[in-house]
Symmetry: C2
Subunit: 202 residues, 2 copies
């Protein structure tokens, strides 16, 4: 295995250990020592890859975003634009235990911005990426790009997704989530319908 | 001053120091030592009021919720239900530097649930309180209580508020927030309008 692959695999292993420490003990417990212990590596070995806690935390945030993007890109295309949009949004929401854990880690990293200011950029990038995704979904649903109505619709969809994620995270895991998907489905239908009605507002 | 008032004032002073440490250095930096230092009291004196970090963090979360509730109750009533609802929701959203700081502290405390499990109850309570508020606002706007249409409308409003809060927190402070209030205003108008149209869905 080439040396860079070794290094990438080691970095990913350490990032996953950061996520585990956050889930079990909270972001406060994340230190070079606790993460090295969790990953089963020596502190010196971790420091060789990430000299500081900030670099370690930053990388773990970046890798989380990267994986979320990969998961979105892997969403199987559907013939019906509304079904496809719903499938993509379902992949964004914390609906199963894995994505709930991911959301919890994201919140923790967001909350750690005061200690690791470079996290601010990661969270802005992630936010912008979701905004762009919503713009593309609205364009797909309405068959129109760059219309004046598109921007508020995309913002509204983005707001609903952010709100549902926060909301779902507050309800018990495995709680009923039909209501959340109903809200999204209504919004997608309204967006597609508005376009057919010559852009009449809701 | 009676002894209990002394104690309440001291507890509030320590809670405010917790918020300040979170804002400046992140939740990871919150310890009995850093908070005592910030509040300008001896560690022993802090420990006399809050024997553990968990109790200190828990109280600071509870006091934050209490103050948010007080602020909501202080919203001046208006004759127009939609204006009153908008004023209340404006008070919930992180639109100025104080409420942004409050939101940031809330996120940090939410992210600390793994370390301080009793915070889970505080965040569930806060979430439920906002859900109840949305139910009351929808009842006020529609003039109907306990109708089958009320629950999904209240959930949708709650989702939009959660989403806008998250969204506003991601955009720079003092950024344009007109779009956010427009989304709320559209929703309030649609809710009031739906009721007048005999509960037709949007």
């Amino acid at each position: 295995m080439p040396r860079t692959m070794d290094r990438d695999a080691r970095k990913a292993q350490l990032a996953e250990a950061v996520w585990q420490v956050i889930l079990d003990q909270g972001i406060s417990a994340v230190s070079v020592r606790t993460v090295a212990e969790r990953a089963g590596v020596a502190v010196g070995s971790l420091r060789h890859v990430f000299p500081t806690r900030a670099e370690l935390v930053q990388f773990s945030a970046e890798l989380m975003m990267e994986r979320a993007t990969e998961r979105l890109l892997a969403t199987t295309p559907r013939d019906d634009p509304r079904e496809y949009a719903l499938a993509i949004i379902t992949n964004v929401l914390p609906l199963d235990s894995d994505s709930r854990a991911e959301y919890e880690v994201n919140l923790a990293l967001l909350a750690e911005r005061a200690a690791v200011p470079s996290l601010q950029q990661v969270s802005f990038d992630a936010h912008q990426q979701l905004a762009d995704l919503c713009t593309r979904l609205v364009e797909m649903l309405t068959g129109q790009a760059g219309t004046p109505d598109g921007a508020p619709r995309a913002r509204r969809l983005h707001t609903l997704i952010d709100g549902l994620a926060f909301h779902l995270f507050h309800q018990p895991a495995h709680g009923d989530a039909t209501w959340a998907l109903d809200i999204i489905q209504d919004e997608l239908t309204a967006t597609a319908g508005d376009a057919n009605n010559d852009g009449a507002s809701r």
